[in-house]
């Protein structure tokens, strides 16, 4: 099994598209850092203008912690696409290339093949999140320094003291990993059904875009729909930065995400185990 996982990881590492995600994160985070270094103060003045009309705000507002938060928020839509780009291709790509039948003929069970691919996808997702964490938080703190973090909500603002931030980021990145694993599982599931690598990626992207648009629309009708959309629960990492932390909401959302992951993976596994591999 370990050998299979290594083999799958090697396959991911040997594909140029696997580096596109890392490259995209590097470019996006680099650009945001550059923009914040040159004009971050004006940007934050605009963002917090509602509050500065009433208050004199003193202290180091522009700091690495806030920049990391802004980056995470901005990448809320893009990161799943980067994950789907690789995980959506992991079974269907081999199916399209004709190597899946070859692999199925080897002395490994289909379950072993399936979970080796799944674990390799999880490792890739973890690498993406880790890279994002290093660039946004570690490099951000090196460039902009430490400091209190202002977290904006549509109905208010929370200030988190500097000593109280790092553990929150630790949990936030774990939840973000879970969220991306949900996307990986979803695209993996579609990949198990598809015979070409484009279909799972496009379906996955379309789903995320549609769900995100519904989540953004302030129409009461969608309030009934939103709890059923997995994108609603994927942004629960934000709640870690609210005061007080609503642990029940976080736990429920995490449980729902785990349920989705198990559901998608179960369907994909069952289909992969029973399907006729013709190519």
């Amino acid at each position: 099994m370990i050998k299979l996982i290594y083999a799958e990881l090697f396959k991911i590492a040997s594909k140029p598209r696997s580096y596109l995600g890392l490259l995209a994160i590097t470019v996006i985070v680099g650009l945001i850092h550059l923009a914040m270094l040159s004009d971050g103060k004006n940007y934050l003045d605009f963002i917090f203008s509602t509050f500065s009309q009433t208050f004199d705000i003193s202290g180091k507002i522009l700091n690495g912690n806030l920049i990391a938060f802004i980056i995470l928020q901005m990448l809320v839509v893009q990161m799943p696409l980067l994950v789907a780009f690789v995980t959506g291709d992991i079974i269907s790509g081999e199916s399209a290339g004709g190597t899946l039948r070859l692999l199925a003929g080897r002395p490994f069970s289909r379950t072993q093949i399936f979970f080796a691919k799944y674990i390799a996808s999880a490792v890739y997702t973890a690498v993406l999140i880790l890279w994002l964490g290093i660039l946004s938080l570690v490099v951000g703190r090196l460039l902009f320094g430490d400091g209190d973090m202002m977290v904006l909500k549509s109905d208010g603002l929370t200030v988190i003291r500097a000593h109280d931030i790092l553990w929150r980021y630790g949990i936030a990145f774990l939840i973000a990993f879970l969220s991306l694993m949900l996307i990986a599982s979803y695209s993996f599931c579609i990949s198990a059904f598809a015979d070409n690598s484009i279909t799972p990626i496009v379906i996955c992207m379309a789903t995320i875009i549609i769900f995100t648009i519904i989540g953004t629309l302030e129409i009461p009708f969608f309030d009934y729909v939103k709890p059923f959309l997995f994108t609603t629960h994927m942004i629960v990492w934000r709640n870690i930065f609210y005061q007080p932390i609503d642990w029940s909401e976080i736990t429920v959302s995490m449980a729902i995400m785990v349920a989705y992951i198990v559901g998608f993976t179960g369907v994909a596994w069952y289909h992969f185990k029973t399907k006729d591999i013709l190519s």
Binding site: I47, T50, F51, T54, F55, D56, I57, S58, G59, K60, I61, Q73, M74, V76, G147, D148, M150, L152, K153, S154, D155, G156, L157, T158, V159, R161, A162, T212, G215, T216, E218, I219, P220, F222, D223, K226, L229, T231, T232, I235, Y242, Q243
Partner: protein, 232 residues
């Protein structure tokens, strides 16, 4: 008819006389207050801030306050602080500005278990502060102040003094102020997937307060101007 005009003139005379006396009394009270503070050219002190502001979730924080005449003011701290635009030193600046504000004595009232004269400061020029009411005790300490400005609405400052209070500087100030409920566009806050806001029906008007406990005052240290311009 002649008697009627005479009566009106007498009444007007009494009224003007009364107002002049009140203004003189008020001036003496304000002068006494300013006299307490007059030796202070600058000061620094430790300050502990507590916030109770609707829509703003912020923990207690400590810092150092610097003040230098006529109106240089700065808070230095390790974290972010939200202070209402009407800072406590604004009162001292108003009192010191005898050319802009006319003090009028309007009554007496007990504040913090201390009998106080109520002094209304009427602006003589077109300035941001449209009205100020000071509650000054027999020692010349400003126990309470209500300041209304065009830009920032009304702020109410309640001061507490203790045995160590020097130069009429408070040991604690609680600043209450009117504010509108914060509303940030969802796209700016990136607050997606939350419920729509059609169920919220409040007026949005509310009151916030910041309490500041002062300690370790140090006066006339010749604080450099650079302290007030240095970056956070």
């Amino acid at each position: 008819m002649k008697n009627k005009y005479s009566c009106l003139l007498v009444l007007a005379g009494i009224l003007i006389g009364q107002l002049t006396l009140q203004a003189q009394d008020a001036k003496a009270i304000v002068r006494q207050t300013f006299k307490n503070f007059a030796p202070v050219l600058d000061y620094s002190c430790k300050a502990s801030f507590n916030f109770d502001i609707p829509g703003l979730n912020i923990d207690h924080i400590d810092g150092t306050i610097f003040y230098k005449r006529p109106n240089k003011f700065r808070v230095r701290s390790n974290g972010i602080i939200f202070l209402p635009k009407q800072n406590p030193n604004q009162i001292l600046n108003i009192i010191a500005d005898t050319l802009t504000f006319l003090p009028v004595w309007i009554g007496k009232q007990t504040v913090n278990n201390t009998s106080c004269d109520i002094i209304q400061l009427v602006p003589l020029k077109d300035v941001d502060i449209v009205a100020a009411k000071l509650y000054i005790d027999a020692k010349g300490y400003v126990q309470q102040a209500q300041i209304t400005s065009k830009e920032n609405g009304t702020a109410n400052v309640i001061n507490t003094f203790d045995a160590t209070s020097k130069y009429a500087m408070p040991a604690k100030s609680v600043i209450s102020f009117d504010m509108k409920k914060f509303k940030v566009p969802k796209m700016v806050a990136v607050d997606i997937n939350s419920k729509s806001s059609t169920v919220k029906k409040d007026t949005g008007k509310t009151t916030g307060s910041v309490s500041i406990v002062f300690s370790a005052y140090q006066f006339n240290q010749k604080i450099a101007d650079s302290v007030f311009t240095e970056k956070d």
